[in-house]
Symmetry: C2
Subunit: 531 residues, 2 copies
C-alpha cells in the first residue's frame, strides 16, 4: 500500500547500511530517530468538512487527509509531525469530463476552491489548501486513466489525464509503443500533472520534455471547455498548449491529453564513464550535448555526488575495487561519474554511443562499462526511497534544481552548494550537499542539488531549518541567473522567486490568463503566482 506520510509503497525499503550511516554521521553528526504521528491521530485533528453532501464527493477524514499535501519537505514535516493544519473539505474522483464540469459547478455553488490532484508527488507545494476561509474540493483524477485512442499512423495516443506513468506505459507497450517520459516520480505521477508542471523525464534527450510530447487535449475550466486539436505544427497565433503547460491547475482541469509516442526502442543501454575532475567532465558533456548525438540520456554527477552515491550503494568491497581500478586510470579523489543512455534502433543507438565514448576519451573519460548503468536503470525509481530510510535515521533529504546556460553551470552549482553548506551554520548544523547535471542541452544544463541535514525532532525547528536552507539556495539560484525550476514547477515553495525571471509584465500576463479561464479565482489559488 502507498505510504501516507512518506515516499512510495510500504513494502519497499531501502535501508541505509552501516557504511552509509557512518558516512552521514561523520559528516552531519548522529541523527535522532523521530517520532512520527499516526494516520489516526492526524485524521482526528482535522476540522469537520464544510461542503454540502454530493454523490461524487467523499468527505471522510481519511480521504481528505490523503489529499491534503504532496511530497515537498514542508509537506513531509506536516505529515510526519501530524501537523496538517488544513485539508480539502472533500475529495471527488470524476470518471468523465461531464462529471468534472458537474463538480466545477458544485464548487461554484459552494463558493469552494478546487485543487486538481494527480499523483500527489509535487515537491513544490502544489496541493496544499490555500486559505481556510473557503471550503476546498480536491479533484482526484485517478479514474480518468484509459487509453482513449491510439493513432499508429501519426504516433499519437490520447489518455485520460489521470493515468500514472506505469499504467500509461503498460497500455502503450501492449501496442508496441512508449511515451518515454520517465521522471523520478514516474511510479505515481500522472500525465495531467506532468503537463501542468512542465515535467521532464530522465530520457528527455531522446523523447523530449513534456512540452514536446503534449500534442493537444481538453481542459475543463470554470469559463468553459478549452479543446486543443492536434497539429504537427502551426503558425496560427499563440499556441494554446503553452497556456496549459506550466499552469499548475490555475486555469482548469486537464481531462484528456494527446501525446506523441514512439515505437518501443529495439535497443537500450546505459553506460558509465568516469572523468578525473569536474572541469574535464563539464567540457566533455558540453561537447556531447552540442554534437547532437541521438542519445537518450546524459547525466553527470559532481565529485561529491559520485562519492556519496557509491558509498550509499553499500557494496563497500566492490566500490573499493572500482575505486582502485579507476585511480590507476587517472580518476582518483575528484572523479565525476557520467551516465550515458542510448536507446532506439540499434543502427542508430550503437554508433551514437560509440561516438559519445570517443568524445569522452578526449577528455580522459574512462569507460566503466554497463554494470553501473544497469544498476542505475534497475534502481532508477528506488533511490527516492532513501528519503524514507534517511528519515528513519534522523536525517532529512531535500533537493532543488534549476537550469542555466553553459557559462553559468559551475557557478550555479558552487553557489547552490555553498549556500546550502552555510545555511544552517547559525543553528550549529551542517548540510551535506551534492549535485548532478540531470539534463543536458546544447544551450546549457539543469543543475540538480541534493541536501542532507539532521532533523531537530520537532516540527517548528525542522521547518525553520528547511526554510532557511530553501531561502539560501533559492537566492543562490536567482543570483546565478537560473530559473527557479527546471522540472519541479513553482507551487508555493518557489513562487517568491518567480518574479526574478518573469518580471512584473510576465506575472501580470499569467494572471490575465488565469482570470480569463477562471474569473472567480477558485482554481488552485495561491499557487504559482501569489494573489
Amino acid at each position: 500500500m502507498r505510504r501516507w506520510n512518506g515516499w512510495g509503497d510500504d513494502t519497499i525499503d531501502m535501508p541505509l547500511g552501516a557504511g552509509a550511516q557512518a558516512f552521514l554521521a561523520g559528516r552531519l553528526g548522529q541523527g535522532t530517530r523521530p517520532q512520527d504521528a499516526s494516520f489516526e491521530e492526524a485524521c482526528a485533528r482535522l476540522a469537520p468538512g464544510r461542503l454540502a453532501p454530493h454523490p461524487l464527493v467523499d468527505a471522510s477524514p481519511g480521504a481528505r487527509l490523503l489529499h491534503a499535501l504532496g511530497q515537498s519537505l514542508p509537506d513531509w514535516l506536516r505529515l510526519r509531525h501530524g501537523r496538517i493544519d488544513a485539508a480539502p473539505d472533500g475529495v471527488a474522483y470524476p470518471e468523465s469530463a461531464e462529471q468534472v464540469r458537474e463538480l466545477l459547478a458544485f464548487a461554484k455553488e459552494q463558493g469552494a476552491d478546487v485543487i486538481p490532484y494527480g499523483g500527489g508527488t509535487s515537491v513544490a507545494g502544489h496541493l496544499g489548501v490555500h486559505q481556510t476561509s473557503r471550503p476546498t474540493l480536491s479533484l482526484d483524477m485517478r479514474r480518468m486513466r484509459a487509453l482513449v485512442w491510439l493513432d499508429r499512423e501519426s504516433q499519437l495516443a490520447t489518455f485520460g489525464a489521470g493515468v500514472t506513468g506505469p499504467d500509461l506505459e503498460a497500455q502503450l507497450r501492449a501496442h508496441g509503443y512508449t511515451l518515454g517520459h520517465f521522471p523520478q516520480s514516474f511510479e505515481y505521477s500522472t500525465l495531467g500533472g506532468w503537463i501542468v508542471t512542465r515535467s521532464s523525464g530522465q530520457q528527455s534527450l531522446r523523447y523530449g520534455r513534456i512540452e514536446q510530447l503534449f500534442a493537444g487535449g481538453r481542459v475543463e475550466t470554470p469559463g468553459g471547455t478549452l479543446a486543443i486539436p492536434t497539429f504537427p505544427a502551426s503558425s496560427a497565433g499563440i499556441d494554446l498548449r503553452e497556456m496549459v503547460l506550466g499552469s499548475e491547475g490555475r486555469l482548469g482541469i486537464v481531462t484528456e491529453a494527446t501525446v506523441r509516442v514512439s515505437r518501443l526502442p529495439g535497443h537500450e543501454a546505459f553506460h558509465a564513464v568516469f572523468f578525473p575532475d569536474w572541469e574535464r567532465a563539464l567540457a566533455a558533456v558540453r561537447e556531447l550535448a552540442q554534437a547532437r548525438l541521438p542519445l537518450s540520456m546524459l547525466r553527470l554527477s559532481n565529485a561529491i555526488e559520485t562519492t556519496t552515491m557509491l558509498t550509499l550503494a553499500g557494496h563497500a568491497r566492490l566500490v573499493r575495487l572500482l575505486g582502485g581500478w579507476l585511480a590507476l586510470r587517472g580518476c582518483g579523489e575528484g572523479k565525476c561519474m557520467l551516465m550515458i543512455g542510448a536507446s532506439g534502433a540499434k543502427a542508430q543507438a550503437v554508433p551514437a554511443l560509440r561516438a559519445a565514448l570517443g568524445i569522452a576519451r578526449r577528455y580522459r573519460g574512462v569507460h566503466a562499462g554497463r554494470g553501473l548503468g544497469e544498476r542505475w536503470r534497475r534502481n532508477r525509481y528506488r533511490s527516492v526511497y532513501l528519503r524514507n530510510a534517511a528519515w528513519a535515521q534522523g536525517y532529512a533529504i531535500d533537493t532543488v534544481e534549476t537550469a542555466v546556460d553553459w557559462p553559468r553551470v559551475t557557478q550555479a552549482m558552487e553557489g547552490i552548494e555553498g549556500a546550502a553548506r552555510g545555511a544552517l551554520e547559525a543553528m550549529g548544523e551542517k548540510v551535506h550537499a551534492y549535485t548532478h547535471l540531470s539534463h543536458l542541452y546544447p544551450q546549457g544544463a539543469s543543475v540538480y542539488s541534493t541536501f542532507v541535514f539532521r532533523l531537530a525532532g520537532n516540527y517548528e525547528a525542522d521547518l525553520a531549518r528547511w526554510r532557511r536552507l530553501k531561502d539560501s539556495v533559492s537566492t543562490a539560484i536567482v543570483a546565478a541567473g537560473g530559473t527557479i525550476s527546471h522540472q519541479h514547477g513553482v507551487g508555493v515553495d518557489h513562487a517568491p522567486w518567480l518574479a526574478a525571471e518573469k518580471g512584473e509584465m510576465g506575472l501580470g500576463a499569467m494572471g490575465a490568463l488565469f482570470r480569463h479561464f477562471d474569473p472567480d479565482g477558485r482554481m488552485n489559488p495561491g499557487k504559482l503566482v501569489a494573489p
Copy 2:
C-alpha cells in the same frame, strides 16, 4: 533596388520560357498582360498624413506607400492597380529600445495605432492599416540589426530584431555559426517577423522552427518592457516566449531576440528521389520522418507539382531525358519528387542520407543524384520571382499552407486542390493547383498548395477571384482538420478561420493577453483576432 509592387530585387528576373507560357496557356487560357499603376500615381492618391511632426517620423508619401502593404495577393492587387486605400500616416526607423519606447509614447499621445514592420514579406495581410478613423504609425525595424552578443559556449546569439535573413547569417558566418532558418522569404524577412508569425524554415528538420530557436529577448509593449531571460529549459510556470511567438504585433515590438545557433555544417547536400506514385511516396516520407534520421530537409512534391516544376524549369531537352530515364525505372506519369537534405558533421550526415535512400528504395524510390538538388539549392530564393514573371503574362500565383496529422494528409491535399479547381468555375475560369509537403514531422506534414489563375485585368474582378478562391481553400483546410497556417501566420486573411481551431475560449485567452500588454488596443489592431 527592391520592387515596390512585386517580389524582390528589380535587377532579378525569372522570365517564363516559351514552354512554360504554353503550359499555362494550355491549362488556363492565354493571359492578358496587365497595366500596372506607377509609384508616383499611387503616391499621389494617398490622403495627407495626420500625425504631428516628430523628429523620428518620416511622413513622406513615398515612405508611407512603401510601408502600406505586404506580399499577400490582395496586397499585390492593391499595389499593382494603384488602389492603396490607406497607408500609415508616418514611418519611423528606431535605432534603440529607447526610441521604440519614445515612439510608443508618441503614438499614445497622438491616439495612433502602431504597426510593426519587419521585411514587409507577409502573405497574410499583417501590415495593412486597420481603420482610417485613427492615424497609424509604422515602426520599421531595419536599423536594429546588429549582432549584439554571441555566447559561443551556449551557442546563443542576440540580434536586433530587425535583422534580415542574409544579414543575420553573414554576421554569424563570420564567427563560424549559422541560425539555419531559411524560409522562402529569407532574403527580406526579419528575425522579429519570424518570431511573431511562428515562421518555419526550409531546413527546420535539422534546425527547428523559430519556436525552437527563439531563446529569449525583449519586447517593448505599451504596458511596459517584457524581458525574457534565456534558460536551456524551465518548468517555472507559463513560458513567456510562447506569448510572443505568434502574437503578430498585437502585444508590442520585439526589439531584441536571442536565438540558438549552430556551428556551420561541415557537409551539406541535397538529393532528389523520384517515386512512381503518391501512395508510395507518402508511405516513404512518413517512414523517413518517423525514423528520426538526422536529415535537414524532406520536401515531397505531388505529381502535378513535379510536372509543373520540371516544365517551368525550362530545360525541355534535359527534362525529356530525365523523364525517359525515370520511366525506364518505373517512374512515369504520376511520379513524385522528394528532395532530401543532409547537413552537419559528415560522420552524421552521410550515414543519415544513406539510411534515407535505403528507406526510399523499399518504396521503389529512384535516386536521381545531386544535380536537381543542387539546382534547387541555387534557386531556393529565386522561385518566388515566378510570381512577377507570371503576372507579366497575365497570371496570378497564390499559395496556402496547413499542417495535418498523417491520416489526413492526402485528404487535405485533395480537398484543397479540388476546392481550388472548382472555385472559379462560376466565373468561367480554371485554376491550376499543385502541392508539396514542405515540412515533415513524425506526427504529420505541412501541405503547401500553389494556385495559378488568370487575371481579369481590373481590380474588383481580380479581388473577387482571389476572395472566392481563398474562401474555398480555407474552408477545405478547416474541413480536413488542418490548422489555418503552418508557417505564414494569420494576419487578416486567415483570421475568419481561426476560431475553428482555437475555439471561443482560446480566442478569448489571446485577447486577454493582448489587453494586458496593450490596454488601449493600439498594437496592430484587427490582425490575428478580429476585434
